[in-house]
């Protein structure tokens, strides 16, 4: 469960990215965060894994106040979240397979079990045949799917994606959305930020609409 109550975020320099944002997302729910660029979508998503801390209000994830987490506790919070970043943040000095293995390295999993999970994650996003490739050789849609595979390899209960369909054509974007839907159907909480109104329109789901840092009703 994710719950925001009266959350504000002011960046150093005075820019107010979020103002009085309150909402709650139930376990297993799929929701979109919509709004123009600069509306505060990325900031909202960054508060959940404590990449940013709120200036006011409380952000609760599975009952834990993540805004007040100690620095040393943050990694353990992030391991329970699947994060798909706007710029994907893939490593181009290693194979597709090794990219997916990265989060398993610090979970202390035995190598054999880690390899099994990595292949299962690649299989779910349809990239098992490309495991030896370098991410640079993948298409935009495939790179996005790789980012999703890395996010889900630790079997998180919450999946958060920032503009996962940006720069993709409609077919590739739909393929990505179908993957998120599949995770949603097996009980994973999914939160997707997008500015693509057409996409939101195709899937009739709950929408948190941000405008200038405020949540519209």
């Amino acid at each position: 469960m994710i719950s925001f109550s009266g959350v504000a975020k002011r960046y150093p320099g005075g820019q107010e990215a979020l103002k009085g944002v309150s909402f709650s997302i139930e376990p297993g729910e799929l929701a979109f965060v919509a709004g123009h660029s600069g509306a505060g979508k990325t900031t909202l998503l960054k508060l959940i894994p404590a990449i940013e801390r709120p200036s006011a209000g409380a952000v609760l994830v599975n009952g834990q106040n993540v805004g007040a987490l100690k620095r040393a506790a943050v990694p353990y919070l992030r391991r329970n979240l699947g994060l798909v970043f706007q710029d994907q943040k893939l490593l181009y000095d290693r194979s597709v397979y090794d990219n997916v293995m990265l989060p398993l390295a610090f979970s202390g999993l035995a190598t054999r079990e880690a390899a099994r999970r990595a292949r299962a994650a690649l299989d779910k996003v349809g990239l098992l045949a490309r495991e030896r490739a370098n991410p640079i050789q993948l298409s935009g849609g495939e790179q996005q799917r790789l980012a999703i595979a890395r996010a889900v390899v630790n079997r998180p209960s919450i999946l958060i994606a920032d503009e996962p369909t940006a720069n993709l054509d409609a077919d590739a974007a739909n393929a990505i959305l179908e993957i998120f839907l599949a995770f949603h159907q097996v009980g994973v909480t999914v939160l997707i930020a997008t500015h693509d109104e057409a996409l939101i329109g195709r899937y009739a789901r709950r929408v948190l609409r941000l405008a200038q840092g405020r949540l519209a009703a």
Partner: protein, 302 residues
């Protein structure tokens, strides 16, 4: 296997893979450290060898009592009797001026010099071995003998041992200073190497941190990298030292044999050698620690 052990094994593996991926750079770094460390280690080995030799001299100190050139044989015998009667003297041996000259002529390259002198310039002498071995007692005894009749000059070997000891202490201090300076240098080298490594792995560090790697997990491979580099440098320093001493000993052997001595420059004791490698590894770790503390903190997206 416990997760903790596996993580350390992974970190060590990652560090070794980094070294293997940059063989020439890693080798150059280790070589720089090795050469730097071989200097104080070599100084230490030379000093240890020389001190060993100095101790052998000091263990059997002699007092040479030279008589006045005009002293007659009865005077010499009276002096001998007095020396032998002294409780502090263990043994006294008379060396006539003729015998001393023969010894001098036998010495390599001095026969012509002696022949050129024409007459024997050497005095009669008593070679005294005292019961005491400490320099202060020897010098007190020598000073007293110096005031006796017919004695022209008294020389104590231990004075040389004492001077050698003072020289060795100075040399040891110099080597210590050199080692301290080079230790700073080693830390600086590792600091910089790890800094560059952190910069090249910037993306990996940032992403790992974003998806749940602990700080310890991110830091660990760099610590191993620094320590491994230091250890490799230490081992190279030993190799450089061993080869240098072997080369020097070719010359030393010839020189020592001409003096009828089996003196050789000795390699470090196994314990010292091990300590040096461990010290080098520790300095590498320290350099890595400083670098990681300085650069990772400012990079972490928190």
């Amino acid at each position: 296997m416990s997760g903790w052990l596996r993580q350390h094994r992974q970190a060590l593996g990652a560090a070794l893979a980094k070294l293997a991926a940059q063989k020439s750079a890693a080798l150059l770094n280790a070589l720089v450290i090795g050469i730097a460390l071989s200097l104080p280690a070599g100084g230490y080995a030379l000093l240890a060898s020389l001190q060993g030799a100095a101790q052998r001299i000091a263990l059997d100190p002699q007092i040479s009592v030279f008589l006045r050139p005009e002293a007659k044989r009865p005077e010499a015998e009276a002096l001998g009797a007095r020396l032998k009667g002294d409780a502090r003297v263990r043994e006294a041996r008379f060396v006539t001026r003729e015998e001393a000259l023969r010894q001098l002529q036998a010495a390599e390259g001095l026969a012509e010099v002696v022949a050129a002198l024409g007459r024997n310039p050497l005095p009669d002498a008593w070679i005294v071995r005292a019961r005491a071995t400490e320099p202060a007692a020897l010098e007190a005894l020598a000073a007293e003998i110096g005031k006796w009749d017919a004695v022209a000059h008294v020389q104590v070997d231990s004075a040389w041992a004492r001077r050698l000891g003072a020289l060795a202490r100075t040399a040891r201090l110099a080597i210590g200073l050199l080692a301290a300076l080079l230790a700073f240098g080693l830390v600086a080298i590792t600091f910089n190497t790890i800094r560059l490594q952190i910069l090249t792995q910037r993306a990996e560090i940032e992403i790992s941190s974003l998806i749940g790697a602990t700080e310890a997990f991110i830091r660990r491979p760099f610590f191993y990298l620094g320590a491994l580099q230091g250890l490799a440098g230490g081992v190279l320093a030993l190799a450089i030292l061993w080869a240098s001493l072997a080369a020097l000993n070719l010359g030393v052997r010839e020189l020592a044999e001409s003096y009828g001595s089996a003196f050789r420059l000795a390699f470090l004791e196994p314990g010292d050698a091990l300590a040096m490698v461990a010290f080098s590894g520790g300095l590498g770790w320290l350099g890595a620690y400083m670098s990681v503390s300085r650069y990772l903190r400012e990079m972490q997206p928190l």
